[in-house]
């Protein structure tokens, strides 16, 4: 049975003014070889319609003006090789790249094809798309069901460095104490720089199919950018330049920056490094000699807690699927310890600065008190690491051994 052709009357709408959208819409609804009658009064309509059809592979022939009531009409026959609604407006063979909603079954696939590239998760991807070569493309290595929640939390918790810190608070510290603050800030800045560089490098390698992880790493890098800003600003509040950067400290950070494996880098940086840092920042808030130092430490600690939570969440998931991975994590700690065996570890200037800040003055009793507080800090850091390691399924003995091998540089 031959169906009556579909009719479109463009009136005086020019083909170049949008008339082609109406013709295109009508053709998409047809099967190959079916016809649509196009009528209109635009002066260049026939010229443009014929040209457009030729470029699209559709055929066109004169129709009967009387049939449509327009001044002139043409019959367009849909090309055989043109995507239509039956194909979801894409080429046959276009595959759906998982589903947008990560909670749907099959939404996040184990090994997204490289040719899905930058496509939104859940989009239909035409065959023939280029291979982007993302090297972090295995779900087990990167995915965490918590990523979306942590990302939303991170976005909601973004604080503005200009207003969240009482920069204009009036205070004056003894020179030695101010120097100690500047030295600690100098140390914090280089550690936060490592924490910015590491997720940034992984973002560029991560398959965008794992959208929530990509977004979380991006906001994590943005967190570190703000930390670098506020620590720099505190360091320069009363001084023209920051303090000392040591070779041992940088060597320790280099082992993190150079770690190519995402889950291992995440373990070393987020779980052990930032986990330890979190306790350091709380210590600094507690013993800050001025309100600005207290505020920047408190704000940074809020963010670091989230980074630790993500590291723990995706590693726990990874270990649930591949318990053998625990041994690789342990050997990564040993490897890093060996690599750092001949370095000085924590900058002595930083250690002394923490001691002085905890003491509050050079009085003997205060110094003794400060020493105890720093010892308690180290013990708390060790406890915190052991707790996190046990959350990842290490036995208390293993956790104690691994924690003791953590870098003396804290991060």
């Amino acid at each position: 049975m031959r169906l009556e052709p579909v009719r479109i009357d463009l009136g005086d709408l020019g083909f170049d003014e949008g008339g082609h959208l109406l013709v295109k819409r009508a053709l998409r609804r047809l099967s190959p070889g079916a016809e649509v009658e196009v009528g209109g009064t635009g002066p260049d309509l026939e010229l443009h319609l014929a040209t457009w059809c030729r470029a699209q592979g559709h055929r066109v022939r004169p129709g009967s003006p009387a049939a449509s009531g327009a001044l002139a009409a043409w019959i367009v026959t849909r090309a055989a090789d043109a995507p239509g609604e039956a194909d979801g407006l894409g080429w046959p063979g276009a595959a759906r790249a998982g589903h947008a909603d990560a909670s749907r079954p099959g939404a996040v696939v184990e090994h997204p094809p490289a040719t899905w590239g930058l496509a939104a998760r859940g989009a239909r991807v035409e065959p023939g798309s280029p291979d982007f070569g993302f090297t972090l493309a295995d779900r087990i290595e990167v995915w965490s069901d918590d990523a979306a929640r942590l990302y939303a939390q991170a976005v909601a918790a973004q604080w503005d460095p200009a207003t969240a810190v009482p920069w204009s608070a009036s205070f004056e510290l003894p020179d030695d104490v101010e120097d100690a603050v500047v030295q600690v800030m100098t140390y914090l800045i280089e550690n936060e720089t490592a924490a910015l560089v590491i997720p940034s490098r992984f973002i560029a390698r991560l398959h965008p199919h794992f959208r929530e992880v990509m977004q979380l790493l991006a906001v994590q890098a943005a967190d570190e950018a703000r930390h670098i800003e506020v620590f720099t600003r505190r360091a320069l509040l009363k001084r023209a330049e920051p303090g000392l950067s040591t070779a041992g400290g940088q060597a320790s950070l280099l082992t993190l920056v150079q770690e190519p494996d995402f889950p291992i880098a995440s373990f070393l940086l987020s779980v052990l490094g930032e986990g330890t840092f979190l306790i350091l920042l709380r210590f600094l808030e507690e013993h800050a000699p001025d309100p600005v130092t207290a505020a920047v430490s408190r704000l940074a600690a809020q963010d670091e807690a989230r980074h630790v939570a993500f590291g723990l969440a995706h590693l726990r998931r990874h270990l649930a699927e591949d318990p053998g991975f625990r041994a690789r994590l342990a050997s990564a700690v040993l490897r890093r310890h060996d690599a750092l065996r001949h370095t000085a570890g924590l900058n002595a200037e930083v250690f002394d600065a923490l001691h002085l800040l905890a003491a509050g003055s050079f009085a003997s009793s205060a110094l003794r008190q400060g020493h105890r507080k720093v010892q308690a800090l180290l013990a708390a850091m060790d406890q915190g690491r052991k707790g996190n390691l046990e959350r990842l399924g290490f036995s208390p003995t293993e956790a104690a051994d691994l924690s003791s091998l953590h870098t003396r540089n804290f991060m």
């Binding site: 090789d81 080429w91 023939g128």
Partner: protein, 290 residues
């Protein structure tokens, strides 16, 4: 899929004119596609069609991807030297093109006759679509170019037979500026220039449209060979729905390859006969190769 008879033999060599950097992408892509299907293939790029036509008569290339003007050059040299030129395939978008002559909407030029004494902007001097065919159309209507009206030539990349769009765009801009009273261009560029704003909405009116004509073709000289047969067969078998070639077909501007035909070259042949455009070249190459 592989044709074992051709695998390992000397490649079929195609000539094409490098009118745009994308030509390399196109032919590298097709080369891989042909070779995957057992046709050894290579290509040579020329900076102009005249060099390519000569090279084909020197047997440097087996197939020439010829402009319509290059086709006429090859066909006439072949006729003069006892050869036979054949158009074996062309794009769907090479068939039934028209050129148009546009004027500004606010002028009183309502008929071709009123172009007498005016300035008519055209594309490259060797462009079939933007110069030779429309000027031939006007001449056939009794208006001899250069005598009845002034011709403003926007000669972008001579030797490339108008493949580059720049000449037509310059001609249209001259019309819009008021430096010309009419401009000649191919129909598809009228739609393109209307959409991209080169030709503002309502600024121009179509004064005349030529008869339909055909554009490029793959030319061979003499009898076909197993290699040229296989080349043609593979071309005609390409499908736009195939993602491996779709991007190349998009770059080359077609949806499907069709068998070649020579019935669509009469308007250009009439124009070059009238203007003597290719006589010297044809005579020179024929004398050398005859």
């Amino acid at each position: 899929m592989n044709d074992t008879k051709l695998s390992g033999s000397a490649p079929l060599v195609l000539g094409a004119v490098a009118y745009d950097p994308k030509v390399v992408t196109i032919w590298d892509g097709f080369k891989a596609w042909f070779e995957d299907r057992g046709l050894p293939f290579d290509y040579v790029l020329f900076s102009n069609y005249e060099r390519q036509v000569e090279a084909q008569f020197e047997a440097v290339i087996d197939v020439a991807w010829n402009s319509p003007l290059a086709w006429l050059q090859a066909e006439r040299i072949a006729a003069a030297t006892g050869h036979r030129a054949e158009a074996i395939a062309m794009r769907d978008s090479d068939q039934d093109l028209t050129s148009i002559i546009v004027v500004r909407a606010d002028t009183d030029i309502t008929a071709i006759e009123r172009l007498r004494g005016k300035r008519v902007a055209v594309g490259a001097s060797d462009s079939p679509q933007a110069t030779l065919i429309p000027l031939g159309h006007l001449a056939a209507a009794g208006l001899e170019p250069g005598t009845a009206f002034e011709v403003l030539v926007f000669d972008r990349l001579p030797g490339k037979h108008g493949d580059h769009i720049g000449g037509e765009r310059d001609a249209v801009r001259a019309l819009v500026r008021g430096d010309a009273d009419a401009a000649c261009l191919i129909d598809s560029n009228h739609l393109l220039f209307s959409q991209d704003g080169t030709l503002p909405a309502g600024a121009a009116r179509v004064l005349a449209r030529t008869a339909p004509y055909d554009h490029c073709n793959f030319t061979i000289l003499g009898a076909s060979t197993p290699k040229t047969d296989r080349f043609r067969e593979l071309l005609l078998g390409m499908r736009y729905a195939d993602p491996d070639v779709r991007a190349l077909l998009d770059l080359e501007g077609l949806k499907e390859w069709r068998p070649g035909r020579t019935s669509g070259y009469a308007p250009l042949a009439a124009a070059v006969d009238r203007f003597g455009t290719i006589d010297t070249f044809v005579a020179r190459v024929a004398a050398r190769c005859g």
